[in-house]
Symmetry: C2
Subunit: 218 residues, 2 copies
DNA sequence: CGCCTTCGATCGTTATAACAAACAACGAAG
DNA sequence: CTTCGTTGTTTGTTATAACGATCGAAGGCG
């Protein structure tokens, strides 16, 4: 259900999903309400036009999410550098090596999975479970844009370098360097994503869009 | 329902609350599930011992919450300093003056209300609604400890000074100073709260508690 | 006397039907 | 032709009953 099956602005109807899954309204409503509580979905107005919708994204909102990610994940990386033992880094080494191979092969889907695992394995070393939950939530809230951009996503070497830098910082126990690397990684990828999504017209950019916002009105 | 009616570890039974409010199970279940999704409550194991419980707090957990607060609210303060106009600060001036008067009078309850309003009025100036929501959530998750400590809370002048410093930084447009003041405020209050709660045995401190943890087993 | 099984009570979950709100389409009056 | 009221449909919400899982206590067996 979270596999990007719904795009931004798309309505999700309880009875529809319930029928599709062959279950009653109640569990579907529970699940949707939970996602709404986590701000992964938004509540559409009741009545005929009701239903839950995946929130529309615009550049200022996406930039705010990116800023929060920098703070949260920068903190997690710094704390990980302070707390990790050298034995903890084996998994990250393997992950990074696999990721580099996948970049050469331009294998997108499995790369993205490993990319996610790399980040969260790293953050897990910080031993801050509450922070980890918050980061996971922000990733979910960034999700809708990403799933749309993915088909056009081109694998970059630059991100890989920043991952390497972060891992080196962890090995050196350098908290500041780890935080900086992660923050740069987030900003770098963010700029790239915004460029792609804006060009595809998927992110609403009411102020400074390079095209007349004909679709923004709907 | 959020007025601190339940203490850490206390079970909340759906049928009980439903009967008390004279309504059906469903809306109660919805509300509780939402609070669980927001991590304000935790799910007790099903069956006879089921029910929702307010999460127990310990020092490492509380410290993690404080660290996150420093990052989030520090960012909000910095951004507020960058974005606020001088005309926006009138409300904060009035709030601060009232707060100082209430400290002299040792009027606790209304002080805490104004204290909260001061912080969130300040963060609102950052115009980062997503960040604001996250901060609100973290405050809620800190709530259980605070409501227990409040009766013994003694109003400090120090916090007031840090609030003044933050406001001055906003007026000067100094982002770093604003963030620093807010972070110090959080750490200062945090240290004080931990001291009170630990002395009262309300926070579990398994490792370095100054007393034998007789109550921790229950 | 101790341990394992079994039964019963408790409590969250699911299903189903009735309810309420809200939007859209239609029709009548101006 | 426009505008306002009405009606019908759609969709989330609430109530109620049946279900399933789990924990504790009682009773039988070693």
């Amino acid at each position: 259900m979270l596999g990007g099956r719904f795009g931004p602005g798309e309505r999700i109807l309880l009875r529809e999903v319930a029928a599709e899954l062959g279950i009653s309204l109640t569990p579907v409503r529970d699940a949707v309400n939970r996602l709404i509580a986590e701000h992964v979905l938004e509540r559409g107005s009741s009545g005929q036009g009701g239903g839950a919708v995946v929130p529309r994204m615009d550049v200022v909102r996406f930039d705010e999410l990116l800023t929060i990610r920098c703070d949260l994940e920068g903190r997690a990386a710094a704390r990980a550098a302070e707390r990790c033992a050298s034995g903890d880094l084996g998994v990250l080494d393997e992950l990074l090596a696999e990721m580099k191979a996948l970049i050469r092969d331009q294998n997108l889907n499995v790369y993205l999975d490993l990319h996610r695992r790399f980040h969260f394995e790293l953050y897990a070393l910080a031993r801050m479970p509450i922070l980890e939950g918050l980061i996971e939530n922000i990733w979910l809230r960034c999700g809708p844009v990403l799933t749309y951009v993915i088909p056009d996503y081109v694998l970059l070497e630059k991100g890989s370098d920043l991952h390497t830098a972060a891992l080196s910082a962890l090995r050196a126990g350098d908290a500041d360097a780890a935080a900086t690397a992660i923050r740069q990684d987030i900003r770098e990828a963010g700029r790239y994503i915004v460029g792609l999504a804006d060009a595809a017209g998927l992110i609403e950019n009411p102020a400074v869009s390079h095209r007349p916002q004909a679709h923004a009105a709907s």
